[in-house]
């Protein structure tokens, strides 16, 4: 289990699809942050995951520094690993160097090409942000080539999707996490455009795999995995409050990031950092979210579907167990497209595909190759401090 720290709800951007629009309010105190880390250390996990989230977490760099320092010298002796998710505007060279030194995974949000990105991702003053963020992404990739990039697709930006992914790949992005804005007003027409773009992306995926390029494109990788790792895929699926807990600036606990703005008086609050997790509340939410999804019982793809994400269901339909039609159609489309990719690459016994998806040692072998080629430098993998 990892803890997501919403350091504050303040943000220097104003993306119109944000599920937690920025607002002024409290900033997490160091006391609250430390208490979260104590809670993480008290779990039975061998390592403790901490995600710095927002609002925009880099508005509070000093707090990030002090909590990382605390984690690195935690009395429990347990290893902490850190991740920060940023819009990139404040991602300066100093922070990138700091993140590299301390092994902090830095994920950046960029929606692709300028028209796709600037359609929704605006600075707080309403100005476009692409020109500001792009140089920061390039700097980040130079230091950490496997930094994840989050891309959100909206109905009006769907036509740019394949160009956007190709653009990111051209920049050197290797780890692409692409998801829909499920809450947007998708129509049959815009969805057909999305399907067309995914056909183009399937062709690109085949091409890049045949060229033995190393990359992770989440929509296809996850669906390929849902078949290839079908024996354990069920365990990988999202379950509310089980694998991660979100903490708001005041120290109140929630089952996932989208509930963190609901406030301590809501039914979604499952405790606070001082009194601990309210197990009764957590169990109630978990059990509610694990119910069979209406309409999915007889679906042939139920076992491979992302319909278990209660957070997403709640965001789109207002109910943990009701699936939005957008999610249903997207999942079906992804599975068919991904399976066609898998079948083609397996039929030709593509070495890159086989090793990437079937060899348990692939991450280590890939790392050895990267070290040898200088893609990653050994010094950057260690913490000199």
């Amino acid at each position: 289990m990892h803890f997501t720290l919403h350091l504050s709800s303040a943000c220097n951007m104003k993306c119109d699809y944000c599920y937690a629009p920025p607002r002024d309010g409290a900033v997490m105190t160091e006391t609250v942050g430390r208490r979260v880390m104590d809670m993480a250390a008290e779990t039975n996990e061998n390592s403790c995951g901490i995600v710095f989230f927002g609002g925009e977490p880099l508005l509070h760099k000093n707090l990030v520094h002090s909590l990382v320092e605390y984690g690195e010298h935690h009395p429990s002796g347990k290893p902490f690993h850190f991740k920060v998710t940023t819009n990139g505007v404040l991602l300066d060279d100093d922070f990138i160097a700091y993140a590299v030194r301390h092994g902090i995974v830095t994920a950046l949000s960029l929606d692709g090409t300028a028209p796709a990105h600037d359609a929704h991702r605006r600075l707080a003053n309403g100005m476009p942000s692409w020109d500001r963020v792009l140089p920061r992404l390039k700097a980040l990739l130079t230091a950490r080539p496997y930094s994840p990039v989050f891309t959100t697709v909206n109905p009006d930006t769907a036509p740019y999707l394949s160009d956007s992914v190709a653009f990111l790949m051209g920049l050197g992005v290797k780890y692409m996490i692409v998801s829909l804005n499920y809450a947007a007003d998708w129509t049959d027409k815009t969805f057909r455009i999305l399907e067309r773009e995914y056909k183009k992306l399937a062709a690109l995926y085949l091409q890049w795999t045949r060229e033995e390029r190393k990359f992770y494109f989440s929509p296809f990788e996850v669906k390929l995995s849902s078949h290839i790792n079908r024996h354990c895929y069920q365990k990988e699926r999202c379950e509310l409050a089980k694998k991660q807990v979100s903490v708001d600036a005041g120290g109140f606990l929630y089952p996932c990031v989208q509930f963190a703005s609901m406030g301590p008086d809501s039914a979604w609050c499952i405790g606070n950092v001082f009194d601990g997790i309210n197990e009764a509340a957590r169990t109630r939410i978990q059990q509610e979210s694990m119910q069979e999804k209406a309409g999915c019982q007889d679906c042939a793809l139920n076992a491979r579907c992302n319909n278990t994400c209660g957070c997403l269901n709640w965001q789109t339909t207002g109910d943990l167990n009701t699936i939005s039609p957008v999610l249903c159609r997207y999942e079906q489309m992804l599975m068919k497209t991904s399976d066609r990719i898998g079948e083609k690459l397996y039929r030709e016994r593509n070495p890159q595909f086989l090793q990437k998806h079937y060899n348990e040692a692939y991450p280590y072998l890939s790392l050895i190759e990267d070290l040898e080629k200088g893609v990653i430098q050994a010094a950057r993998m260690t913490n000199p401090e």
Partner: protein, 235 residues
């Protein structure tokens, strides 16, 4: 926008991980060209391949049985699919002797299991090359499907490396001998399957029941081999 559940969905025509790990040669034989150019990567690949095979033995020990961690010279020799202990003792003071399957009984089980998978066998001979023993005449051969099979039973035990015991009690380890033969055998254009006598004990069942169990375990070995050759694309 409306959506409806998928009423039917055909099984994808690419394997799941367990199916591939049952036939690990596919990972050894298909390596990215960039890896081939790196001695460090190929060295690590060899180490991990061995470790992975070891992990697998534990991983797949459920209904599908285990497979042995043999090193297969050419990728043409199947791993040993472990159904049945394949070891035990017999002799003067052993009160629950194991049941041995004869070559004829084994051949019948193997042929019948193959027939269920539409694999026809031939009386045509096929010789399996080995590194340390003389060539072995395969017990079963299917030229059409390019597969040959050898059953390690009492008749072959000593000539295939089984160690004699100098006492009134004889101990046998057919599984170990089968793994040794699997390491030793090689082929260029025919996939080789090696099975062993499960050697079921009669301590908790009658001789007839033990014999039936041995046949069932041998059949399970053959079925796993058939699955393996399917993954290889031979069938």
């Amino acid at each position: 926008m409306k959506a409806s559940p998928a009423k039917r969905y055909r099984k994808p025509k690419y394997p799941d991980k367990l199916e591939v790990l049952e036939a690990p040669a596919i990972l050894r034989d298909h390596v990215p060209s960039t890896w081939k150019r790196s001695m460090r990567v190929t060295g690590a690949l060899a180490i991990f391949a061995g470790a992975q095979a070891g992990m697998l033995t534990g991983c797949i020990s459920g209904a599908q049985g285990k497979h042995a961690t043999a090193k297969h010279r050419s990728g043409m020799v199947a791993p040993i699919f472990m159904h049945g202990e394949g070891r035990g003792v017999t002799g003067c003071v052993v009160i629950s002797p194991p049941v041995f399957l004869s070559e004829e009984e084994a051949a019948q089980v193997i042929s019948e299991t193959l027939a269920k998978a539409q694999i026809t066998v031939s009386k045509q001979p096929y010789r399996i090359s080995t590194a340390h023993f003389s060539e072995i005449d395969a017990d079963i051969y299917s030229p059409k499907n390019k597969i040959a099979m050898e059953f390690v039973g009492m008749n072959d035990y000593f000539k295939m490396g089984g160690e004699p015991t100098n006492s009134s009690i004889s101990s046998f380890d057919f599984q170990r001998v089968a793994v040794g033969l699997s390491n030793d055998a090689s082929a260029k254009d025919v996939r080789i399957g090696i099975f062993y006598d499960p050697m079921t004990s009669t301590s908790e069942q009658s001789i007839d029941e033990a014999r039936a169990q041995s046949k069932a375990l041998l059949e399970a070995q053959v079925k796993d081999f058939i699955d393996w050759i399917k993954v290889q694309g031979t069938l």
